[in-house]
Amino acid sequence: MKRVRESASSKLCGIPLSPGIIVGTAYQAEPSAPSFYRLRITHEEVDQELRRFEEAVAQSRNQLESIKQRLENLVGKERAYIADVQLLILEDQRFRTEIRDRIVRHLCSPERAIREASEEWLSLFRSLQDPFFQERGSELKDVEDRLLANLTEVNGNGKNGHLPDALILVAPEVTLSVLADYQLERIKGLVVTKAGTASHVTIIARSYQIPMVSGIEDLAEQVHTGDTVLVDGCEGIVYRNPSHREARHYQSCQEKKQRSDTTVDDNDAGPSTTVDGRPVHLYLNTETESEVASGLGQGAEGVGLFRSEFMFVKNTAAKPTASRRRTRATTPNALLTEEAHFDVYRRLALAAGGRLVILRTLDTGEAGLISGEQAGTDKASLGLRGIRLSLKHPEIFRLQLRAALRASQYGNLKIVFPMVASVDEMIAGRQAAEEVRAELQREGIVFQQPVEIGVMLEVPAAILMLDNILNYADFAAVGTNDLIQYTLAAGRADDVVAGRFSPLHPAVLLSLKKVAEASLRANKRAYICGELASDPLYAYILIGLGFQHLSLHLRELSSLKRVIRGTHYAEAQHHVDQLLALPTVEAVNRFVAENLAPGKTWERRGE
């Protein structure tokens, strides 16, 4: 597997999706559709080829069974249906008969028989008008690819036998089934072309602390199986065959980081203050209540962002109880029972122990409801998602609001609507919440105080309408990633590579400035909930802009605390004022490089 060619070192820049640094051996996930050349067989070969086909079926079945098993462990029974559908396709009698017929009667090679039979079905799927059902053909395509792969023995039995130890999986796109195909524990790093910050693979990579970088084009050309690669999931950089110098540099960075990580007292809760005494409050971004306790232990003052869409795809659905059957008629599927949501939200509120919990209502596109892919990927970024989706499907919205309002009795729960682009949507959303509140009151649930409802600021239109929107919001939360993406009309992988996705673009800074000022004027809190806050430089700028409430991933809490304690607020303000006066991205970058480079500001005092 080792390549003979001694390749030169090269540096590839992408998007950091899951932090951590790892050096390992690249392994290209096999191309999903192997090519074959034998199209016809002879009469004498029929029996033997039929056997070969049946063996491939049996092998595929075993693989899918074990994928199903692993998926169940990974994402719950509900999500594992992907494997189940493919198993059923494999066993589909008509499909099987058509393939066998082609082999026996038309003397097709099994490879060709499979492809032709599959293609016939696929053309039927393509002819469907409903794009959602059209898309179901991809399940069949997956099965076809698996059968062909097993037949041509490209990835035959067990990928895990001959894999490198420090396995860095390299693939244009990694689906859940690819991830399950390899043993997750063996994957030490992930380098992909396409993946969103909220895709399932990213979430899994983060929870298993697998460094991950996406947005690297031409992977097949850039990285080969056997290459030594260094994956920097913090900066989004991949070094192919890193030089000793680069590797050493990273090693020492890592050691330094480990040292400093341990110098922060994990039990040190409460707000951190800047050098000149301005408090900055930290909160936790999470999709599971299990992280809340450790978050609180590391200084988070609550949950600044709970991503509820995970609820819609994960198997957390409790069995609906008889007493709540009244919601059944409008409940679309088992994942969406009010009781299941209530149960999770209540546990979340309890885990936070009276501290803030901001629950974001469903933030995904319509396809996300179905396939489980979440917002943040290219396809899902525009159109029907977030509050728009909720307003279009009042039954889902109502269910979620009921669950949230009921759970608010167990702690300090607030609700935030994502993707708001107009005042109208805030009004409609609030009205829905008010109706639910009145309904619950009629059912005997008395609210001590109204549940606060905030607006997620991520669509530029909402920034333009900010003062008006804040009249209908009790607080604001900025989704920085989406705000940048929509403001700059850039967010795709190639945008990042080309530098078009630029968090320090003057337009982004101006938008953030506007949020800080308007929320101050309206006397409403503004939370920063995006990934931006987790980068020391951006955090420094956010503090300088005046933000005092930052919400971020558990892992980033302690390092951000260090940044806050090393920051001089008045100085940061001054820096930001200078930044805001700069008209070009280039000038901003130069200013940052000259004045805000690591070691010049917060780190000086942070030690």
Binding site: F132, A334, I396
Partner: protein
């Protein structure tokens, strides 16, 4: 032979997961199961996952279920219940 028409009420219609559940249920019976979408007149064997997905039965589709065989009564009853319950997992 038994026949019953029922409306698909779950939001996503007979999407992959629902289709899988339906096919698994149908396959437990010896009877021949036929599904017809009265909206687009497509028809399929209820034990055939590809056919069921190709019904493209979205929310609101009138679905006709036909069962013929020794256990047709039980088959119809269970399939109707499954659709009525919006394909909730049956324990």
């Amino acid at each position: 032979m038994l026949r019953k028409v029922i409306r698909v009420e779950n939001q996503l219609g007979l999407h992959a997961r629902a289709a899988a559940r339906l096919v698994r249920t149908a396959s437990r019976f010896e009877s021949q199961i036929k599904l017809t979408s009265l909206n687009n007149a497509r028809e399929t064997d209820g034990k055939d996952i590809l056919g069921v997905m190709l019904l493209a039965a979205s929310c609101g589709t009138e679905l006709q279920i036909t069962a013929e065989g020794t256990d047709e009564e039980a088959a119809i009853a269970e399939l109707v219940q499954l659709v009525q319950e919006n394909f909730q997992e049956q324990k």
